[in-house]
């Protein structure tokens, strides 16, 4: 685990700060690297401890390995819904439950930066909203998000297998 194993992330207090993640070179080159880092931190908090770190990473556990549970148990962290929720929050930075047009534009901007013009960005965002926004409120709610990704194999694409 990156926390206290092979990677030089370890902070003496047993907690991580956003700048500790900055030491990971591969992450710095990821266009949405900053968003992923902020996904680890609860809103308003500046540090993340080991338990929370693990809880976030648990979203990426492959789904098929979870034991079958009866309806009473709380939903496991790596269920399809939770994975979707994680991705949803990458778009929805202000956590209001909807991806507004502006938020979508922001994501597109970080993913594309200088490579496309502002008009192209606007038209891409426009098309995306038109397709996904079913109740025509000019924003994408979590259910609309989920619907638009019905056919995507989330379990495979959002899972990381550990060697053991």
């Amino acid at each position: 685990m990156g926390f206290n194993g092979t990677s030089p992330l370890l902070d003496q207090r047993g907690e991580l700060r956003p700048e500790d993640f900055g030491a990971i070179r591969e992450l710095s080159m990821n266009p949405i690297g900053d968003r992923i880092i902020s996904a680890f931190f609860s809103p308003g908090k500046e540090t993340v401890d080991f338990a929370s770190f693990v809880r976030i990473l648990a979203h990426f556990h492959p789904t098929e390995t979870s034991r079958s549970r009866d309806g009473v148990q709380p939903e496991p962290a790596n269920s399809r819904t939770r994975k979707l929720k994680f991705a949803f929050q990458l778009y929805d930075q202000d956590r209001d439950g909807k991806i507004s047009r502006e938020e979508l534009l922001q994501v597109l901007r970080t993913m594309l930066e200088m490579q496309v013009t502002e008009e192209q960005l606007q038209s891409i965002a426009e098309r995306a909203i038109q397709e996904a926004d079913l109740d025509q409120d000019d924003a994408i709610s979590f259910d609309e998000f989920r619907k638009s990704l019905e056919k995507v194999d989330i379990d495979h694409k959002m899972s990381i297998r550990f060697l053991s």
């Binding site: 092979t6 266009p31 690297g33 990426f60 490579q115 995306a128 996904a132 056919k151 995507v152 060697l163």
Partner: protein, 454 residues
Amino acid sequence: MTWFTFPGDNLLCRCLGISITAWLTLLFVFIIVPAVLGVSFGIRRLYMRTLLKIFAWATSRMEMGAKEKNQQLHKPYSNGIIAKESPSSLQQELQELRGSASCPRSEPEFEMADIFYFCRRGVESILDDEVTKRFSAQELESWNLLTRSNYNFRHISLRLTVLWGLGVLIRYGILLPLRVTLAITGISLLVVLTTLVGFLPNREENKPKNGGICVSNHTTPIDVIILANDGCYSMVGQVHGGLMGMMQRAMVKSSPHIWFERSEVKDRHLVAKRLSDHVADKTKQPILIFPEGTCINNTSVMMFKKGSFEIACTVYPVAIKYDPRFGDAFWNSSKFGLVNYLLRMMSSWAIVCSVWYLPPMNREEGEDAMQFANRVKAAIAAQGGLVDLIWDGGLKRAKVKDAFKEEQQKLYSKVLVGEQDEGEQSDDMHLEDENQEEDENPEDESNQDSTKGQ
């Protein structure tokens, strides 16, 4: 001044005299003379075999100890802790994501699912980053009884501790003084012998010839010594002060080396000119260059700077691989200075390395310097069993440049918006450093000129 004379004083002196004489004799007879003449007593192989047996025993003891306590023994994985899918390009991954979503459209567009690709890549790099781990010492799978290699090895029983104590005694009491004496002898002869025990060269007919350039992967300053052992080279490097500088000046008296002043480093044409002049003169020795520009921890080969591959001549690649079980030779220059490093080297069990001389390579028609460099790098990595990375060794000290991020963005935009006018290729994202040196402060310049020239 009166001197106190103890009755045993003479005896003490005599003992000291005898032991020093014995020591030096042993040194000469068993080490220096055979090394000069190239004769081997087979002591080294015996030593290595014994050490390996002891390490295996130590590991099994630790496993037994772990089982008793019903815990898993922590084993670091040198190849990473997560299963990485075979690397496919950004285009391919996104196609897969979209192919499973809706029906394929006529023109590429943005899909909400695209973010999964970046998200997963990002979290994978948090868990296990290909680059950052190359700049710290490699972790061993079993403990080799050196405290410095002890990363999280627990369940060390009493017997093991005793063995370790014995090891400390041997290493610091016998091996270290032995090597220090050797070092002093050696330096004064301008030959720094450290703890070279195993040396297994292969394919000797491929040794670099005059008028060529020898390139190799870089792990420690000892690389230079190893290669110099086997042939005469002209080095290229930064002019140093102090002991290193003295050695450099002394070396220049016997054979032509190219030492650069710091101010000259920035002038890449001057450097290139001096290199090509040297190479053009067929009577001069082959040049030794380490194109990575810095020390890497010997699990991978990082980006080769293209400067030395622009000169039109034959390149002789050499792969050097150290066996980490006996002692870690990697010089982490951001953690240890040179003296500290040498001390650690001298108190390890041994330094064992394999050197492969690969067949010479030439630049092919229509290949630019960067492609040629990558080809050579791939050959070296394949031979040495190292991971071939495109990352720049300069990242050891520098932060990741935005250009890398831009590269990802460029690729993604191609998928979304289709091919734009691709005027320039994307090789200007690499840090440019035309001076390949085995030095801890590479100068870097974000040189934007591509092979199309300026």
